[in-house]
Amino acid sequence: MNNPVSQDQDWPLFEVFIRSRAGLEHKHVGSLHAADAQMAVEHARDVYTRRQEGVSIWVVRSSDITASDPAEADALFEPARDKIYRHPTFYAIPDEVKNL
């Protein structure tokens, strides 16, 4: 890090997803630089699972992610706002129903 000649400025950015326990989903934990996907997995192991945070790692090139446009947030998300009946909690659950 002290040597500008060997800076990793050419390494692309990867997003890292970690599954913390079997059965749970992978969650986004952060990003890192690596020369390719294989190196990104190893870097993720060293950077993000040092304290037993994970049992599985996914990486994806940040540039391969297609994101929604913040400017379109109203058009995308506003219509859901007045449809609270879509929440399952909207309905009273009969006492007889177990394990829901």
């Binding site: 890090m1 060997s6 800076q7 990793d8 690596a34 294989q38 190196m39 190893e42 870097h43 950077v47």
Partner: protein
């Protein structure tokens, strides 16, 4: 099998891990990228963890009231019995990778074989260390191939490091009386049986990395007998400074 033999053998293993781990620790804050900084730091901590298990065991065998810390911080260079290769300076990143890769490949064979040791304590330590070493080898051989099969600059530098460090590999499999007696007792592996496996693994990786294997060199270094290069003394000076200046100092 005698206790003095076992003590010397366990010290050799423990000192090699300790000295190599300390060397890797010198990279912290200086690696080419943050991700590699953490990677080398992880390797260093694994190795120092192995050293703790082995040196604690050595201290018990010795039975003179010393503990792992006394062995690590209060012995002088001639009392250290690490492989000479482990104490060689870091050099550039490629040099560190070559040193690491050569020792990782050696530890892979040694720890794998030691799992079947008649000394159950040693077998247990080896089983734990083997898991760590598998990752170390993956890390170091991966970088060896990237650098060797990389740019002209990286290829040239890493080949130079292989040529420079190769003479130290002779010691890895040069069994002495201690190792032969322990092998006969089923405590330690026979080094002459491990060498072909190490050699084939190393050749495969060199081939993939488009690097050239130097010709066999019979240059007898004797780190495991306490005869070291000048580098170990300098390194111990730094490593032991605090404990020797403030005896008994603790975190």
């Amino acid at each position: 099998m005698s206790a003095p033999d076992l003590l010397r053998y366990v010290l050799r293993l423990g000192d090699t891990s300790l000295i190599l781990g300390q060397r890797l620790g010198e990279w912290v804050g200086h690696a080419p990228a943050l991700e590699e900084d953490l990677g080398l730091g992880n390797l260093a901590l694994d190795l120092i963890g192995q050293a703790r298990l082995l040196l604690s065991y050595a201290a018990e065998i010795e039975g003179r009231g010393r503990d792992e810390d006394a062995l690590a911080f209060l012995r002088d260079a001639p009392e250290f019995s690490n492989l000479t290769l482990a104490e060689q300076p870091n050099g550039d990143f490629g040099r560190t990778i070559v040193r690491q890769w050569l020792i990782d490949a050696w530890q892979l064979e040694v720890y794998e074989a030691l799992q079947a040791s008649t000394d159950t304590r040693l077998a247990g330590i080896a089983a734990k260390a083997l898991q760590e070493t598998r990752y170390h080898y993956r890390f170091s051989s991966g970088w060896l191939v990237r650098l060797g099969d990389g740019t002209q600059e990286s290829h040239g530098r890493v080949q130079e490091s292989i040529d420079a460090l190769w003479p130290f590999t002779h010691e890895l499999f040069a069994a002495d009386d201690v190792e032969e007696r322990l092998a006969a007792a089923g405590v330690a592996p026979r080094l002459d049986l491990l060498e072909p496996r190490w050699s084939a693994r190393v050749s495969d990786a060199l081939h993939e990395a488009t690097l050239t294997r130097p010709s066999k060199v019979h240059f007898p270094w004797h780190g495991k007998h306490g005869v070291h290069t000048e580098h170990l003394g300098h390194m111990l000076g730094e490593m032991q400074h605090l404990q020797r200046t403030y005896p008994g100092a603790q975190w």
